[in-house]
Amino acid sequence: MSRYQVNKLLRVIARDELVRTEFLKDPAGFTRDADLTDAERKALIERDFRTLYSLGVHSFLLFGFVMSVFPGDRKKLEEDYCKTIAPLGRIDYST
């Protein structure tokens, strides 16, 4: 399972400003050498959090990632996030 690798990237992007800047500048380059599936790589590059959630990444890490990589109003972003993933229900994210 490479969801562990996705979790690792979500964590470091959310907590380290320098890493985040590199990711946002060139997401394809940033993920090129990571051990990810094509679906995971595409979703990460596109910051497609609905797909990442559906792939079973850790939702706590995913939320931190989303709050750190999108600009704008935090409250609205939080609402958009919840609305987007709600139809998917709870997904087991055991690694």
């Binding site: 907590r15 850790h58 890490l61 993933i85």
Partner: protein
């Protein structure tokens, strides 16, 4: 001989310290939680602890899925935290205090003789689950602590029953500890809560919250243990398993009713508070 002088369970909601500083009357639940933290601070001060055992769950900050301990004793010389990204986002204060290495090692070795194989660490940072309650309950940073890390975030996590058993073992170790020490205990956690789930930063399941807090007040520990399974708690929010730390407290007090409980709902998740007040080693 060592004796337990106060046992406290609280929320570690990182939004609260800033809210208390900047907007304590934004809603009644915030003011009530602030008053409850002041009450916890007073209770702990009056108990005059020589050491505080702090039970809390790291949020994938210090420990990660490359090496995830279910229960870990921190035995470094001192503890400091929170992590820079937590301090930045939530405007949390830095906390730094000594670690009581003797008691840490006693818990570690005593656990091994009581069917609890604690992991240990000589170097770590304590995240907001530790520093937020300490910042509010013991801002003086003058009492050494023993950090006890639990995994409630990366499944599989142990069932509530196991947290209770670890608490029982810790009580037995403290009771047998030869030094004349007054031991306070703080555990942090929460009732139902989602962070990254469909109901992020809300109380997901008020029925779960009311039931659990009611049973803690009544001393109905078997019911709390029965309800505290991963499946039931995950259904009530992806962070709800953080409630399990309160099961360690129930073990430490051998399941007796709490002296005090409160649950303060607000626009974030509800804030739980519970204490067991001891005098001379016995419950008051």
């Amino acid at each position: 001989m060592a004796k337990i002088v106060e046992v406290i369970g609280v929320t570690h909601n990182p939004f609260l310290p800033r809210e208390f500083r900047e907007n304590p009357d934004s809603e009644p639940g915030i003011r009530a939680a602030y008053d409850n933290f002041l009450l916890m601070r007073r209770k702990l001060r009056e108990a005059r602890p020589d050491v505080i055992v702090v039970v809390a769950s790291d949020h994938l900050n210090q420990w990660f899925m490359d090496n995830m301990p279910p229960f870990l004793i921190g035995q470094a010389r001192f503890a400091r935290g929170p992590f820079p990204h937590e301090a930045r986002v939530h405007k949390l204060s830095e906390y730094r205090t000594d670690i009581d290495g003797d008691l840490a090692r006693a818990l570690l070795r005593g656990g091994l003789n009581r069917a609890v194989d604690f992991s240990f660490s000589d170097e770590f940072i304590i995240d907001h689950a530790f520093t937020m309650p300490l910042e509010l309950i013991r801002p003086e940073m003058d009492v050494p602590i023993v950090p006890v890390f639990t995994n409630t975030i990366a499944p599989p996590i142990p069932p509530g029953k196991r947290f209770y058993e670890v608490g029982l073992a810790m009580r037995s170790i403290i009771d047998d500890y030869p030094a004349d020490k007054r031991v306070g205990v703080i555990a942090s956690g929460h009732t139902s809560l989602d962070v990254g789930g469909p109901k992020t930063n809300q109380s997901v399941d008020p029925d779960f919250d009311q039931k659990m807090m009611g049973w803690i007040a009544q001393g109905n520990t078997p019911a709390v243990i029965r309800e505290a399974t991963w499946e039931r708690m995950f259904e009530a929010g992806n962070q709800t398993p953080g409630f399990s730390n309160f099961l360690i407290l129930l073990g430490l007090v051998r399941g007796v009713p709490a002296s005090y409980t409160a649950l303060n709902p607000c626009r974030f998740a509800a804030s739980p508070f519970m204490t067991w007040d001891f005098a001379n080693g016995d419950l008051k």
